[in-house]
């Protein structure tokens, strides 16, 4: 120890209190040390906190109080006061309450230096708050969900890295270009206004919005905006969380289609049964006619019955096709009662004999604005669930009624509208509240083995939501279940009337080439059109048709073209027609025309299609139209 230092220390030993100066009675902890870190003096506040009285502390080194982890750093700086640019030193110190964070502002005192006075403040609370802040901000930084924090007016203050990655906009870009982050995805001003109305009223807003990504692709996001409040309960910030659900939506769409196919399996049994009945009817009447060819009245009656059976069969086929097709959703006016009657008839055939159906349909139910395909799926899924809930058999009751929007239970329905209510009640096992709470979750199922996908009710829920309807469930173990579906009634819709059937159609004298590999069908068309005055040529497959078309001697005004044929397909024939006789009129007849095939044909300039099964009346009318167009063009 050099001279000047020892002299100061010597003074200190005489009057240690003097080193503290005006800090003696301060409430702030203050101590003085020499260059070796020995405690020279401490005020009362220091003693209170660190429990070292003047006597106890005589000769102790200050570093005894410092946390081991910070000791090296403390010791390295013990001899010199902090330089001008250095901020105060912060370490953990052992107090009577344990380790606390203290920050010390140090100054050299005495003329020659050698004594350092340190004034300390407990910053534990601030320090822990800062650490917590850093921890939380790092957690938010790593979140796989996009997060945006704005002020109460929607001005962006924070975006997490996921948001930057998904949107391509950094915080600086957003501030730079004043990007309306909360507006993004709202399809209209109205929707954005509604959003603000919800948020301003202090409620949480949730929605699924689509918008374009920087690369141009469409992205669906599930968005939740909630209010962050201060201690006084005022909204200070909005927290917006956005999750990319594009993939989930795509999967849902696929699952919906898969579930539809599953339902189709259920239908297939019923349809087969129906078809057998129809075939039996047709066969029976055909036999009667053959046996009584002389009795004109009986033959005519038999043929009428056969025709009715055919109409029923074609209705069935149409139903199964519309159902299985991944068709665009088409909302049109729909008679719910008729739909229920048709389906229940079908299901009654396929469900076990122990399951009875009861119908309680309110007559005069106004039409629904709905997608027929999807409503069928609802009825079907609910009935299938009802059946599965009654392994020992029971009764499924389907009811329809009109319900005013205001009277609906626990739903936010339009109060001034009327709803159609569809109820499916079973007398089965019922559900516990726990099960009831989860039934609309995808993949939730109580069915054993692989009897169910757990998608049925999730699909029902999705369909009802897309129709702006609501759903409720009443059930108790042992007391059966009732599912209620409420769908808004159409305000001004009229059910499309069934076209009145007429057996006669206009004839003609043109030459018609009939191309179909179905022997019976070709003969039928040949007979029907020859009788109406047309000159007919028949081709039993595509190759033969091509022979006729490429032969310039052969006069043809129109072609009735089937699509699925062995040899050359309808499309191949079409191409030959376009090459040899581009002006030749063609009417395409098909059982099932895929959108791809349709596009192919349309690219070749083909506009006229008729779907099987058709009536002769329709076909005749359509052929006339095609030929007449030909003339006027």
């Amino acid at each position: 120890m050099n001279d000047w230092a020892s002299s100061t220390v010597a003074q200190a030993a005489d009057a240690p209190e003097a080193l503290l100066g005006e800090w003696v009675g301060s409430r702030v902890a203050v101590y003085c040390r020499d260059q070796n870190g020995r405690l020279l003096a401490a005020n009362a506040a220091f003693v209170r906190r660190f429990g070292k009285s003047a006597d106890e502390s005589a000769g102790m080194t200050v570093s005894e109080l410092v946390h081991p982890e910070e000791l090296a750093e403390f010791n390295s700086s013990v001899a010199r006061p902090p330089s001008e640019h250095e901020s105060a030193r912060t370490h953990r110190w052992m107090t009577k309450q344990g380790w606390r964070w203290y920050t010390w502002e140090e100054t050299q005192i005495g003329k020659e230096g050698g004594v350092i006075r340190a004034v300390g403040r407990d910053i534990t609370r601030q320090r822990l708050a800062e650490e917590l802040y850093l921890k939380l901000s790092r957690a938010v930084d790593q979140s796989p969900v996009s997060m945006v924090i704005t002020d109460a007016d929607g001005r962006v203050q924070y975006v997490n890295p996921k948001y930057v990655q998904v949107s391509g906009h950094s915080l600086e870009d957003i501030l730079d270009r004043d990007l309306p982050v909360l507006r993004e995805g709202h399809e209209s001003e109205e929707s954005y206004r509604q959003f603000w109305k919800t948020v301003r009223s202090g409620k949480e807003w949730r929605g699924e919005l689509a918008h374009q990504k920087p690369d141009g692709s469409l992205m669906w996001e599930s968005i939740q905006v909630s209010c962050l409040r201060n201690a006084a309960g005022e909204t200070t910030n909005l927290l917006c969380m956005r999750e990319d659900i594009t993939e989930r939506r795509r999967l849902q769409e696929e699952l919906r289609q898969a579930q539809k196919m599953e339902s189709l399996g259920t239908l297939a049994g019923g349809i087969a049964h129906d078809f057998n009945n129809i075939l039996a009817v047709m066969n029976g009447y055909a036999e009667i006619s053959l046996l009584h060819t002389g009795d004109a009245a009986l033959v005519q009656k038999s043929l009428r019955e056969i025709k009715r059976a055919v109409q029923r069969a074609s209705g069935l086929v149409r139903q199964i096709l519309t159902f299985s097709r991944k068709a665009d959703v088409q909302f049109s006016a729909l008679d719910l009662n008729q739909l229920v009657r048709d389906l229940v008839t079908l299901l009654a055939e396929t469900f076990p004999r122990t399951v009875n159906f009861g119908l309680d349909l309110q007559e005069g139910l106004p039409p629904l604005l709905a997608d027929q395909n999807q409503i069928q799926q609802i009825v079907l899924n609910l009935c299938v669930n009802a059946r599965d809930a009654m392994p020992e058999g029971g009764t499924i009751t389907v009811r329809t009624s009109i319900c005013p929007g205001g009277g609906l239970p626990n739903v936010d329905a339009a109060r001034d509208r009327n709803y159609a209510c569809l109820q499916v009640t079973d007398t089965g096992t019922g559900m516990t509240p726990e099960v009831r709470a989860r039934i609309f979750e995808p993949f939730f199922t109580t069915k054993e083995g692989n009897r169910g996908t757990g998608l049925g009710l999730a699909v029902v829920y999705g369909i009802v939501a897309s129709h702006r309807g609501t759903i409720d469930v009443q059930s108790a173990p042992g007391a059966g279940s009732t599912f209620g579906i409420y769908l808004p009634l159409a305000e001004n819709a009229v059910v499309a009337p069934v076209a009145p059937a007429s057996s006669e159609f206009l004839g003609g004298t043109e030459s018609v080439l009939i191309v179909d590999d179905e022997d019976g069908l070709r003969k039928l068309l040949d007979t029907a059109f020859s009788r109406k005055g047309y000159r007919t040529i028949c081709a039993c497959d595509g190759l033969e048709a091509i022979d006729f078309i490429s032969n310039p001697q052969c006069a043809i005004d129109a072609v009735l073209l089937d699509l699925n044929m062995p040899g050359a397909s309808g499309l191949a024939v079409m191409k030959v027609i376009k090459a040899c006789r581009p002006r030749l009129k063609v009417l395409v007849l098909s059982g099932h025309l895929s959108p791809e095939a349709r596009t192919e044909f349309e690219r070749l300039g083909q506009r006229d299609f008729l779907l099987k099964p058709y009536t002769l009346h329709d076909l005749g009318g359509m052929l006339r139209k095609v030929l007449d167009n030909n003339k006027s063009n």
Partner: protein
């Protein structure tokens, strides 16, 4: 921009106020020097960096400084007093934001190489040196002139006083070139020529930009009036100090970029309105200021050469 900041407009100027504002608003992110950007990038990519180290680098760059201040003041807009401390700004925004900021920084050397612009990197380096020198001296002058509390505003007003020129390089490149290639006598003549070519001078342009981005009134005012501190409606000591610092820096040979102005003669700054505002009333203070400035002036070229 309140009209008070745009006064004595040249009526025959080629652009209307509205056109000028629109051009400034459309300005992309202001570019930085490569050397500074490199240092910042390596700092922010290291987990051990201290906020103070990062702030030290940002303080060397008027573009970065104005970008980070506008960000932090936009984020905390209306919540508290303006933030004028770079270190605080770095802390509030967080290391990640600074990393994003540095990643999105256009680098002047790359721009000039790619775009073959009329402004070479040397002009920019000159502007940077001048800005930093002015900042250091402004801080020095203000600390000797008044007993005001130590505040980073003292430094920032000097650093940002020529931000308008960086903006002009984007918004009015041809006009800036025309001014830069005309030999002139004083900084005041530069402003007059700018107003003739554009309608506003670089002080107005810089002030408009900074005000629009929520920087503090003191900074906006200092930038706006740094060539005419006697016109300043409030906080005259800031523009006054910038004006004096600007002259001192020119005197030691660090001319502002993008102009050709004659070097400043010794003691010329004591005849400026800025000097009058700061030291006019007190002979003793003026003396002390002269002595301490002489000291800093000697070291300045050395300090600057190490920075850029």
């Amino acid at each position: 921009m309140p009209n008070s900041l745009v006064s004595s407009r040249n009526a025959s100027a080629p652009y209307t106020d509205e056109q000028i504002r629109r051009k400034i608003d459309a300005c992309p992110k202001l570019a930085s020097l490569q050397s500074i950007n490199k240092q910042l990038t390596s700092l922010v990519n290291s987990e051990q960096s201290l906020t103070s180290q990062i702030a030290e680098i940002i303080r060397l760059d008027p573009s970065l400084s104005s970008r980070i201040l506008r960000m932090v003041n936009s984020v905390y807009f209306g919540l508290s007093a303006n933030i004028t401390d770079i270190e605080e700004a770095v802390f509030f925004l967080g290391l990640r934001q600074i990393r994003e900021l540095s990643r999105a920084t256009p680098v002047i050397e790359e721009l000039t190489r790619m775009q073959n612009t009329q402004f070479g990197p040397d002009l920019w380096k000159c502007l940077w040196s001048h800005s930093i020198g002015t900042a250091i001296l402004t801080r020095e002058i203000l600390s000797s002139a008044s007993a005001r509390a130590e505040d980073e505003t003292n430094y920032l007003v000097g650093l940002l006083h020529n931000l308008g020129k960086i903006i002009m390089a984007y918004a009015f490149p041809d006009e800036l070139m025309a001014v830069a290639s005309t030999p002139l006598h004083t900084p005041g003549e530069v402003c007059a020529l700018e107003r003739e070519h554009i309608g506003w001078d670089h002080a107005w342009i810089g002030a408009y930009y900074l005000e629009r981005h929520h920087l503090s009134k003191e900074i906006v005012c200092a930038v706006r009036y740094h060539n005419e501190p006697d016109q300043a409606p409030e906080y005259p000591q800031y523009p006054a100090a910038v004006q004096v610092a600007d002259y001192l820096v020119r005197h030691v040979g660090v001319a502002s970029g993008f102009e050709q102005v004659e070097p400043v003669a010794d003691e010329a700054w004591t005849r400026l309105p800025g000097w009058q505002i700061l030291f006019g009333a007190n002979e003793t203070e003026a003396k002390i200021a002269r002595a301490s400035l002489a000291n800093t002036l000697q070291r300045l070229p050395e300090i600057l050469s190490g920075l850029i």
